[in-house]
């Protein structure tokens, strides 16, 4: 069944989706994508499920409402770019790329398998993956270069980075955060998936993360807080181009493990693997069974 055919989700394979989904349809797609990610984590024995589930709505909104891309032509020189800097959420990226039509749903079954291009962190050479990430603090500097390169080449290209709150620990982000406004890179947008957790603790407690939105503002960015699960609001903000010459950052408030009650805001699901009964319970909650 196609991912786009109906607002009522099912646990079937994902298909390619057009750009004109309603918010209801995008939400249905998000439920299916979440179900697929949980299946993938279970099947592959791969971690970071909570981190994947928190950024699904952001990724779907970007791929359906913001990015000028053609899955049939993933290397088109003038395409918009999205880098998933929080590479540990690769399963979310893979499931969304497949749903958007970059590759067949069956490819997702190879996730983490012998010889698969779908490694636990994004690898170069897979359609739709713009950069290999997984080492944190790399996506924003690379995105900065992509945005500058687009400007040097006279391209009207937008560049998006999805990063994690824990990732804001990395100093390289703040090097990039100082340079992007110095270069007036209004074609660059960062989205921080602020799920309030990092691997082993509350992201507000491990390092002094707060006040996060003020930090970005102080660095010269047009910074706004949004609900990272409100796809109508995400669509409105992410589709719109910058209003001035500043780079933009959205601090997207999210819930780690979003969509499955027994995973939500429980950081054990950073590393825990879902058992068969967990997959079944999650699919039931997501309306996929």
């Amino acid at each position: 069944m196609s991912a786009t055919a109906s607002a009522s989700p099912s646990a079937g394979p994902l298909g390619a989706g057009p750009l004109d989904l309603t918010v209801d349809e995008m939400e249905a797609t998000a439920r299916r994508v979440r179900g697929r990610i949980i299946q993938m984590s279970h099947g592959a024995g791969a971690h970071h499920l909570g981190s994947c589930l928190s950024c699904v709505d952001i990724l779907i909104t970007l791929y359906w409402r913001a990015l000028r891309i053609d899955p049939a032509s993933p290397e088109a020189p003038d395409r918009d770019r999205l880098i998933l800097s929080k590479g540990h959420a690769a399963a979310a990226l893979y499931a969304v790329l497949s749903a958007r039509g970059f590759f067949e749903d069956a490819v997702l079954d190879t996730y983490n398998g012998d010889g698969s291009k779908l490694m636990e962190h994004p690898t170069p050479g897979l359609a739709g993956v713009e950069a290999a990430t997984g080492s944190l603090g790399h996506g924003l500097p690379i995105s900065l270069g992509l945005a500058l390169g687009a400007r040097i080449k006279g391209k009207d290209t937008r560049v998006f980075t999805v990063m994690s709150d824990g990732e804001c620990n990395e100093g390289s982000n703040w090097e990039a955060a100082m340079m992007a406004p110095a270069q007036s890179l209004s074609n660059l947008t960062a989205v921080v998936d602020f799920n309030k957790w990092q691997a082993t603790g509350r992201s507000r407690e491990v390092l002094a993360l707060d006040p996060l939105v003020d930090k970005w503002r102080a660095f010269g960015w047009a910074a706004e807080e949004i609900d990272g699960h409100d796809m109508a609001a995400l669509s409105q903000h992410l589709a719109a181009k910058a209003g001035d010459d500043r780079p933009r950052v959205f601090i997207a408030h999210t819930i780690k493990g979003r969509g499955v009650s027994f995973m939500e805001d429980d950081n054990n699901w950073h590393y825990r693997l879902p058992k068969a009964e967990d997959v079944e319970a999650a699919e039931r909650e997501l309306g996929l069974r």
């Binding site: 770019r81 500097p141 995105s143 270069g145 040097i152 090097e175």
Partner: protein, 311 residues
């Protein structure tokens, strides 16, 4: 050497619209002409090397040819993991230029010495590692690097290095340049230490030995074909570099030596020891501290050859 680079870069940058120069907040006046010749394609990235490398990767992903320039330890070891992931894993054509390599900034203190950079970058897949010997080799290597489809690291000196070659040599990355053809002793030199090696060769001539001298501007890939071809006529082979003995050019030759089962020849390595230089010294005295002098090279290689003749 750095002026040769700046002049060449200006000439090439004016014609090649893909070339973008990134500086880690150094060499500002040196690049004034480039900025005029290539408007919009000079970016002072500030003292933020990790970001500079990621940024260079992004530019290369847009089809540009970034050239990132700053003092050697800061463009290599400071941001080594960015080089590994952003440049090497993606196999992007980015050129890294380290200035004042080896002991070039001897007086500035060990923070500015770079005696470990070859070891670090040589270990990274896809990375090409070069160390031109003089301003002419700088020009040749830089032009070749711009045609390479891989990341290239070029470790250069600073200012005032003499020309060894009369003209820009005809150079291919991965190939050595035979500067002097002899027999018995072969001196393999990489980087700016070549004049010291040529001086050592003169001392050997006075002792009745006509050595071969090879400049090796590319350390990775290593010109093993050339080295292998020299073994029959050269019982003694020496490597000379302004870099640590751990993991440098001499190690690269030694690895090949072991893997290919060389027997019967003697390999002697000259380079810095496992220590920081913590006293202010001029470049020649800093080299001497580590036993990198014409006299030491001549003595050790002549003695080794003598031992072999006596045996």
């Amino acid at each position: 050497m750095r002026d040769a680079f700046a002049n060449d870069l200006t000439a090439i940058g004016a014609e090649n619209e893909k070339v973008v120069l990134l500086s880690g907040d150094i060499g500002n006046r040196m690049f004034d002409r480039f900025k005029e010749a290539a408007p919009g394609r000079f970016l002072n990235c500030g003292v933020a090397e990790a970001n500079m490398i990621g940024l260079a990767a992004g530019l290369a992903m847009q089809g540009l040819r970034p050239v990132a320039y700053t003092i050697t330890p800061f463009i290599t070891m400071r941001c080594l993991e960015q080089i590994r992931v952003d440049l090497c894993y993606h196999d992007l054509p980015v050129i890294l230029i380290g200035v004042g390599s080896g002991l070039g900034y001897a007086e500035l203190g060990a923070t500015h010495h770079s005696l470990e950079d070859i070891a670090c970058l040589r270990a990274l897949p896809n990375m090409i590692v070069t160390a031109p010997a003089d301003p002419m080799e700088v020009r040749a290597v830089f032009r070749a690097a711009l045609k390479a489809d891989h990341p290239v690291y070029m470790r250069i000196g600073k200012k005032g290095e003499p020309n060894v070659h009369q003209d820009v040599p005809d150079l291919e990355l991965g190939k050595g340049i035979t500067v002097r053809k002899g027999t018995g002793v072969c001196l393999l030199s990489t980087g700016v230490v070549l004049p010291v090696v040529l001086e050592a060769a003169d001392l050997l001539v006075k002792r009745g030995i006509q050595p071969t001298v090879v400049s090796m501007p590319t350390i990775k890939p290593l010109d093993t074909g050339l080295i292998g071809s020299l073994l029959p006529d050269h019982p003694v082979v020496a490597t000379i570099e302004e870099h640590g003995l751990a993991g440098g050019f001499g190690s690269a030759v030694g690895e090949w030596w072991i893997d290919s089962g060389v027997t019967g020849n003697r390999l002697i390595r000259f380079g810095s020891s496992d220590s920081f230089l913590t006293y202010s010294k001029t470049v020649p005295k800093a080299r001497a501290h580590f036993g990198i002098t014409a006299e030491a090279i001549a003595d050790r290689t002549a003695n080794a050859l003598g031992d072999r003749s006596a045996a």
